[in-house]
């Protein structure tokens, strides 16, 4: 099996997994919401309501497709497409597990190990806001426009703090922007230099502040509560997707969940050691390499699912921020803290070595 074929299969698989996880995130969201509110949630379609996403999907497909007369038709269709494409593109640089090995050949569980992985993620994610902006503007609707404006200003404000918090991580991995290097660095070495547990050298133990900032910014980037001002149903009907219907609306809603999945993956990669888990070296000595790889893949997905749950947990706990609070938090609190964090990290690395 050539590497190209393997990559092609991986791409298709990732596409399907992203969509599948997004579909079941909608189900999980409703279940989590229900359970946190002492309810049961959807339980009629299939056992435990497991077929609910399919029913929702079919419903979305069968809805009438409405394009407002006064909208810009080309941009109206372009908006959700851009949003979906950009959210799906991010998954290309994430290392999902340890490389597999077949007949001496190594197949990395990563579509593209580019040396500017983080930069690529930040870039593509910020492209995603164009989907929202174009969609909101093309709708020719006040609510949609307001939502789009909110989305863009929110993205710009939080991307800075997000980038700054990542800089601290980059300093620790000798300035390598490759996600693969970052994850591998967290699997080697001792925690704090003396706790010898293999695969436990996670960045979150060194950079809790950066983690917190990144997490908050991830919430804002994924337009999740408490930062869901772009679509806030109670104020703006649906925000940027007010005028959308049928599968174009479906793409927006789906894209949001894929976004959540990808942000969870990025958070686990940057701060929670990606596919590394405690005792990974020991398992490597007693089990075949490929089995360990698959375990690492499962561990990665376990971490991702935890963060998806965290996203939902937070959504059903805290109310939405006010717009001025959002801006103040982004610019006056997160930004300075992130910058100070970078300076402190740099100073610590200079003084104590790594």
């Amino acid at each position: 099996m050539s590497v190209v074929l393997f990559k092609a299969i991986l791409v298709v698989l990732l596409f399907l997994i992203s969509l599948g996880i997004a579909a079941y995130s909608t189900y999980a969201e409703r279940k989590v919401a229900a359970f946190l509110q002492d309810r049961i949630g959807p339980d009629r379609a299939g056992p435990f309501g497991l077929l609910q996403p399919i029913a929702d999907g079919v419903k979305m497909f069968l809805k009438e497709e409405i394009i407002p007369t006064l909208s810009d038709k080309f941009l109206f269709i372009l908006g959700p497409s851009i949003f979906m494409v950009t959210t799906l593109m991010v998954s290309a640089v994430i290392p999902w597990g340890m490389p597999l090995e077949f007949g001496g050949e190594i197949y990395a569980l990563q579509v593209a190990d580019i040396n500017i992985g983080i930069l690529y993620i930040l870039g593509v994610v910020s492209l995603g806001v164009y989907g929202i902006m174009i969609g909101g503007w093309a709708s020719n609707n006040k609510y949609a426009l307001l939502g789009a404006i909110r989305a863009s200003s929110q993205m710009i404000s939080y991307e800075l703090a997000m980038g700054m918090s990542v800089v601290a991580i980059l300093l620790m991995t000798n300035g390598s922007l490759s996600l693969n290097n970052i994850v591998e660095a967290q699997g080697t070495g001792k925690l704090y230099g003396f706790i010898n547990v293999s695969g436990m050298n996670w960045n979150v133990f060194y950079q809790p502040v950066a983690f917190l900032i990144f997490l908050i910014c991830a919430f804002a980037e994924a337009n999740r509560t408490p930062f869901d001002l772009p679509e806030s149903e109670s104020e703006l009907i649906g925000g940027f997707h007010t005028e959308y219907s049928s599968m174009k609306l479906g793409l927006y809603l789906f894209g949001e969940y894929i976004n959540m999945f990808i942000s969870s993956a990025v958070i686990s990669c940057l701060f929670f050691g990606g596919y590394n888990f405690p005792g990974i070296d020991y398992l490597g000595t007693i089990l075949p390499h490929n089995i360990v790889s698959i375990i690492s893949l499962l561990v990665m997905f376990g971490k991702i699912f935890f963060f998806i749950f965290l996203f939902m947990w937070v959504r059903w706990t805290i109310p939405r921020f006010r717009y001025d609070q959002l801006m103040r938090l982004g610019w006056q609190i997160l930004m300075p803290i992130a910058i100070v964090n970078v300076l402190l990290t740099a100073a610590a690395i200079t003084l104590f070595g790594n």
Binding site: F35, I40, W313, V314, T317, I318, I333
Partner: protein, 176 residues
């Protein structure tokens, strides 16, 4: 001027630095919500499980018959007088010879109508009735398509001889 001692002075103090971080409040909120994850759910899966009525539930009325299947109602009109919603109307008639097996006393209600949309299910008719004729039961008033259909006549209200309506459950729990 202080009218009660329940008044509270409302202040809006400046938030402290820790409070401005929002994080402690958010964490305590997360703790509260996660506790609910493991709580017993309040939901009843409706078509399979139905919520039991309270023992004193007041639903659709019934006009009772006695043990021999004769209607108790004598059309005295006390229920109509006591009804705060003025939902009850009736026409009285005199019992003819040969109708002794139908009506218990010499006078009976030829027409007895309750407008179920006016009725507030207070149960005052039941209390006013001197002949143990009208009772509220734990049956649900059926839904109809027009307003007119909600005026229930004797065909809906009088209990059938072969299927008596049990009112003892409510009466047992009923104290004034």
């Amino acid at each position: 001027m202080q009218l009660t001692n329940r008044s509270k002075v409302v202040t809006q103090p400046e938030m402290t630095w820790v409070e401005k971080l929002y994080l402690p409040a958010i964490f305590s909120g997360l703790q509260i919500t996660i506790k609910h994850l493991f709580r017993k759910k309040a939901t009843l899966k409706y078509p399979e499980v139905q919520k039991a009525f309270a023992p004193v539930y007041r639903g659709m009325h019934v006009l009772k018959r006695d043990e021999q299947g004769r209607e108790n109602c004598t059309a005295c009109g006390l229920c109509a007088v006591s009804c705060p919603a003025e939902a009850i109307t009736m026409d009285a008639a005199e019992r003819k010879k040969g109708e002794e097996h139908l009506y218990r006393e010499e006078k009976y209600a030829a027409k007895y109508e309750i407008n179920m949309l006016r009725c507030i299910y207070c149960g005052l008719c039941e209390e006013a009735c001197p002949k143990d004729a009208i009772y509220l039961t734990d049956r649900i008033v059926p839904s109809e398509y027009t307003r007119g259909e909600f005026v229930f006549g004797k065909d809906m209200l009088v209990e059938k001889i072969e299927e008596r309506v049990d009112i003892s459950k409510r009466q047992k729990n009923y104290t004034i």
